[in-house]
Structures are given as C-alpha cells and as structure tokens.
Symmetry: C2
Subunit: 196 residues, 2 copies
C-alpha cells in the first residue's frame, strides 16, 4: 500500500515492530519488512542502513513509550514527597520490566539483545532515567527531606544498586519469590543512605 512518499519513519517502525514480533528478530530480514511495506528493500535501506539499525530504532521507541515516558510523569508529580515518589518511580520501573518480560516476551528478548549490541542507545536511555531520579532527589534535598549531596551521583548510585531488579540480564531471577524480599532489603539500606 505504501508508496515512497507515504513512507514515514513512524510507518516503517510500526511495520518493522509487527514483523519482528511475528517472525522473531533473528528470522526477520529487511526484505520481509520491505515486502509488508510494499517497497523495495533498496528503498527501505535508504531510511535504515541495516537490520540492526531497524531493530535498534524499534527498541528505542518502545523504551521511550513503555518505560521512559510513564516514569517521567511520576518524576514530575508534585502531590507526593521525594522519598515516596522515588519508591513509586522504582516500583513502576520494576513492575513494567517484569510485566514486559512475561507478557511481551518477543519485544523483551529483542530489547535484551539490543542491550548488548547497541550500548550507546541504551546508555542514552539509562542516562535519561537517572536524570529523572536526580530531579526527584534534588527536590528532596531542597525540601530537607534527603541528605545533601550530588543529585546525579546519588541517582546513579541508587539506579545501579537496583540493577538486579530492572536490568534485563536478571529477568530469569524475577520469577523467584525471594526477589521481593531482596528488593525490600536493598531499598531499606538505600533509604537509610539518602534520607536525612
């Protein structure tokens, strides 16, 4: 249906995401995606230089829409204090990751693979999340709710310290019941480290 003029980035990404889900990212070729778009693979290559680039772009969009944007809304809330907002933020991050690992395994597997292959894009995504946390922490310091310190370093510390609960390399451990006790133990020490 698509002609070259209608071939927007959004249409390519929508189609690529569908095809990746249907065939799996390993078995999908650029030709498969071009076929569904009814364009030549040469045309598609003018927009994305490789299958890896397409896979990365689809994952990047998914991370923004499914993870970063909903978390930004929590970070921006003005109705809850910093400490409680941090907890809501981490609970949302962790439950989103667990939900997608279980309910959207195709996309989650692609995201896990991209985490290893597209270090720069993932680094950018993670930095965005850490900035959200840093914003909450800065407000908490100003409100004399949290200990003084560098909001960026504190945010980086608590993000890295909770990796076990949101980094895709640990997805197989999220089904074990002990994971909730483990998070409670981690959170207790972290809170003690940041609260005034």
């Amino acid at each position: 249906m698509a002609n070259e003029q209608a071939l927007t980035k959004a249409l390519i990404l929508d189609t690529a995401e569908q095809v990746f889900r249907r065939f799996g990212p390993d078995k999908t070729s650029v030709v498969d995606i071009a076929k569904v778009l009814q364009v030549s693979h040469g045309t598609l290559y003018r927009h994305f230089a490789s299958k890896a680039a397409l896979r990365e772009a689809v994952t990047e969009r998914w991370l923004n829409v499914s993870i970063a944007q909903p978390l930004q809304e929590i970070a921006d809330r003005t109705d809850v204090q910093a400490t409680e907002r941090l907890r809501i933020w981490f609970d949302a991050l962790i439950s989103a990751k667990r939900k997608y690992a279980l309910e959207d395994p195709e996309m989650f597997a692609m995201y896990t693979a991209v985490t290893l292959d597209a270090a720069e894009m993932i680094q950018f995504h993670v930095q965005g999340l850490i900035q959200q946390i840093a914003g909450i922490i800065e407000e908490g310091i100003q409100a004399q709710e949290l200990k003084a310190g560098s909001p960026g370093a504190i945010a980086n510390g608590i993000f890295m310290a909770t990796s076990r609960f949101h980094h895709p390399a640990h997805a197989s451990e999220w089904r074990v019941q002990a994971v909730d006790t483990d998070f409670a133990d981690v959170w207790h020490v972290l809170l003690g480290g940041i609260q005034l």
Copy 2:
C-alpha cells in the same frame, strides 16, 4: 592409569575440569572424561549421574576455592574495623570476578551457564557469601560502628545492591571504565545507609 579403587572424587573433578577446559563444556562428553581417567563411562556414571552433575560439581569446587575461601579469610580478619573490612571484602569479590572473566574465560563461561542451570547450588554459594558479610556487620553493630539492624537483612541488601559488579550476567559491562564510578556511587549510598 586410574583403576576403580583409585577413582576418588578429587581425581574425577581434576580430570573433568581439565577436559571441560580443553574441549569446552558443550563439546565435552562423559565418555571423553572417562577415557582420560581410563575407566568405562559406566563406572564414571556411578559417581556422577550426568554431565550436568559433573559440570555442577566442578563449578562448585571452583567457586569454593577461588571465591568463598579467600573471602572467608578477609571476613575473619581482626586487624581492620568492620566498615573497612566490608570494603576489602567487596573489592576482593569484584576483582576476583573480573580477573576470572578475563583470564579464565572457559571456567567463567561454565560458571555463567551453571548460574542459570544449577540454581540450588548457586543459591547455597550466595547464602554462604551473605553469611560472611552478616558476620562482619554483626561485629560492626557490636562495635557501634554500624547502625543497629538485622545483620542478615543488611548483608543481603548490600550483596544484592552490588550485583551489577559481581553477578556474571553483567560481565560484559565490567570492561567499561564507568563501572568504577558506578561502584563508587553505589558504595557511597550503601555506606551512608549502614554506618552509624
């Protein structure tokens, strides 16, 4: 060389470790190991029920000798206070993991695979490490150097919070230079959470 009488567990594990290293755990068969031991594979199966059991036993011994025992010596030191001993303990754990990931990739790959397959053995190993930390923390609480609390829960919290730096699923990230800054940020928040 070996006859059935001389076929000790240590000899089997020494030989299995050598053969796993030489051929890689995937390509090694129980028959390969039996051949080097000059026993029938039936004889070997009387000691270990499967290749998976052999692989698990070799990894378990390696974890004890290379990780748990040297760390126990640090945990038992009486010449340094709890806070400093905790840092020495974690530095030793993290540098041992990094060293083996780089310098003994065959054994490290086997350990990474076993981490997914032999959850019970790994769980037992991890619980042993957490008990070592809990011992240090208990002494620190008694010395009024650390905040009061459950030593086991605090130890579990700081072990889980440092997963990014010692869990084999993160080995590919240990080569990035930012990992040392990340650990410093995590350690700073954790120390703030446990020190009196």
